[in-house]
């Protein structure tokens, strides 16, 4: 069952101008997986890809392909191909020649090139476009050429650096589906970079959440969503209320002035913790019937649900409910054990998960760390 690791990063550290951009990064990537690096702009995603592709030598640490250490292997000898953030197609070559490039470099035979380019054109839905200049193509078409140009070399690993960020929403959705299809059909390991959490959750087998040049969590999309490891991950993936609590003992946690039953274990006695409550997991009941009570300070109709901002003991929660409520109403709140997720305190504690400054227009921007 256990698949072998195709890439391993061990203690990778990279600094630019004395600033650590990657800090002792460790990562194993399984053969054939669709892995997504997810993180805000500037967190080091591109840098990590460049270390894997070989364009950047880490200051410390080792890169392994299988069992082979490849730190000193130049990019053109690595079994990896990259789809660059801005495609980087060859402007002097047409669609056909762009795609054929890798095979021509290898000195492949004419018939082989013809056949494989046709195959690629079909895979990326660009049949009939082979004579077009790449500079005259739309963003989506250039994207497809870039994919075909990389895949024709049958790399072991394909690196995709925010390949969809320049496309409009509709095309983006189509390409997400298409990339996933191509990955399944070819069985090639994809390492996909995005800052869009929805994209990451919907496409990946494994999500790697990055922040501050470090990996915050590695897991399946479901794990990442349901079992975030710290306040950063909880806040970055979906909406989260993150509340200070005390873990009394296994399966018992106190926060918001009430002691709840939960399903989390493995904490010390009375350990201070961060408690995550997803807005959709809150049961809203009449004021007397809840475990705790709150005051609605803002109610927004969202079509299929209402989004409430509820003040509970001086802390503002986001709550999503299908019933209609109004600003100023008192409500009761019920939390079943499964809806409570407890995390150890981290460097991100207190920075995220409070909706007191929330407005619909912009996401809550956490204070920049020093």
């Amino acid at each position: 069952m256990e698949k072998k690791n195709i890439i391993e990063l061990k203690n990778i550290t990279v600094s630019f101008d004395g600033e650590k951009v990657l800090d002792k990064l460790n990562l194993s990537i399984q053969d054939g997986a669709f892995v997504t690096f997810l993180g805000r702009s500037g967190c080091g995603k591109t840098t990590t890809l460049r270390v894997i592709a070989g364009f950047l030598q880490p200051d410390e640490g080792d890169v392994f392909f299988g069992d082979q250490r490849v730190n000193d292997v130049p990019p053109y000898k690595r079994p990896v191909n990259t789809i660059f953030q801005r495609y980087a197609l060859f402007p002097h070559l047409n669609v056909f020649e762009n795609i054929a490039f890798g095979l021509r470099v290898k000195g492949a035979k004419k018939e082989e090139i013809e056949g494989k380019v046709r195959e690629m054109l079909k895979l990326v839905n660009l049949e009939g476009m082979e004579k077009r200049k790449v500079t005259n193509l739309s963003g989506g078409q250039q994207q497809r050429v870039a994919i075909a140009r990389a895949l024709i070399n049958r790399p072991k690993v394909l690196l995709l650096d925010e390949p969809l960020s320049a496309l409009d929403a509709k095309l983006r959705k189509d390409m997400q589906v298409e990339l996933r299809r191509i990955q399944r059909e070819t069985g090639i390991t994809f390492i996909f970079v995005t800052h869009d959490q929805e994209e990451a959750l919907s496409m990946s087998d494994v999500v790697v959440v990055m922040e501050n040049g470090q990996i915050q969590q590695i897991g399946s999309p479901v794990d990442i969503y349901n079992e975030p490891k710290n306040a950063f991950v909880a806040d970055f993936i979906g909406e989260s209320n993150i509340i200070d609590g005390i873990m009394n003992r296994d399966d018992t946690v106190t926060f918001a002035g009430h002691t709840f039953v939960c399903v989390d274990e493995g904490f010390e006695h009375n350990e201070p913790v961060d408690v995550v409550i997803r807005p959709e997991d809150v049961d809203v009941v009449a004021p007397g019937e809840g475990m705790i009570t709150g005051l609605i300070t803002q109610a927004t109709f969202k079509g299929d649900y209402y989004e409430l901002i509820v003040e509970v003991k001086g802390f503002k929660w986001m709550v999503q409910t299908t019933d209609a409520y109004e600003e100023g109403q008192q409500i009761g709140i019920v939390l079943v054990p499964d809806s409570i997720h407890v995390m150890h305190k981290s460097e991100f504690s207190g920075l995220y998960g409070d909706y007191s400054t929330f407005s619909d227009e912009e996401d809550v921007v956490p204070p920049e760390e020093e």
Partner: protein, 287 residues
């Protein structure tokens, strides 16, 4: 309503009038100093001393075919050498820090600020039998080497004078190449040599072609350099034209005919070169 309309119309007319006024000096310049001299050259080339139409001047050019061929060969050699020096140089400079690149640019441009005649004159004093270079050779024990008054000296002089005109256009194009395209080539399996051959060269072709034109054109019509640095057998077409004009019985018709041929040679070579840069598939064709 109509007032506005008229105003608009008036404005349009004024703009076109303005454009005409702006264009006028250039058109006048072109007519006075480009078109008319061309006609004069053509006139002299096809008339004899009495002003009658004749093909004799052109026919007599056969006597000078040796000089013409020599000019062509020398200028091709100088252009080729300039390219071979300039291309790797530009490639290397493009990898330097921006501040160093600015410095390098300065040093390339510096000689261009000095008049060609003075530059060449300085070069001759350097390379003379008793010049600084030979003194150095004597000092380090190689002994005197005849550096001047031979073909090598002429070509060296041409390369020395025209090299910046090759470097600058190539450097300009090369420094603006998209770095990520180079990385894409490396990513797709190109080693350094293949990157140059398959990506850098085709993408810098426009710069190469400007460089070739900017070196070849003055090279093929070179005078003074060849007269000053060459031997008796290194006479070039530019020298020939000059001597025809300045000789005691000034022979303008022959000079004009020679100029006409020179212009034709330049025109044809530019047409050939433009074919390369205009071709949509130019890159792949050359690879």
């Amino acid at each position: 309503m109509s007032g506005t309309y008229q105003g608009k119309a008036g404005k349009t007319r004024r703009t076109s009038l303005g454009t005409a006024i702006l264009n006028a000096p250039y058109l006048l310049w072109a007519a006075l100093f480009i078109i008319i001299p061309m006609f004069i050259v053509v006139y002299y080339a096809f008339t004899n001393k009495d002003g009658a139409f004749t093909f004799d001047n052109i026919k007599h050019l056969a006597d000078y075919s040796g000089v013409m061929l020599r000019s062509l060969l020398y200028s091709l050699a100088a252009t080729a050498i300039c390219f071979l020096i300039a291309y790797p140089f530009a490639y290397v400079v493009c990898k330097w820090r921006p501040s160093s690149q600015k410095m390098a640019n300065m040093f390339i441009m510096l000689p261009m600020w000095i008049n060609l005649l003075i530059r060449t004159y300085c070069l001759t004093t350097l390379m003379d039998g008793n010049g600084l270079v030979n003194q150095l050779f004597v000092f380090i024990g190689i002994g005197r080497i005849p550096l001047m008054n031979n073909t090598g000296a002429v070509i060296f002089g041409m390369v020395y004078n025209y090299l910046p005109y090759m470097i600058l256009p190539i450097y300009n194009v090369m420094s603006r190449l998209d770095k990520s395209v180079m990385e894409a080539a490396e990513d797709l399996g190109c080693n350094a040599f293949q990157r140059v051959r398959r990506v850098v060269f085709p993408l810098t072709l426009p710069g190469i072609i400007s460089g070739i034109i900017m070196v070849f054109v003055p090279s093929v019509s070179t005078f003074y350099i060849s007269a000053k640095m060459g031997g008796p057998g290194d006479f070039m077409i530019g020298d020939l034209i000059e001597s025809q004009i300045h000789s005691q019985n000034s022979n303008l018709p022959t000079a004009a005919a020679l100029s006409l041929v020179l212009m034709a040679v330049i025109l044809v070579s530019m047409l050939i070169l433009n074919r390369f840069s205009d071709d949509e598939e130019g890159g792949s064709m050359l690879v």
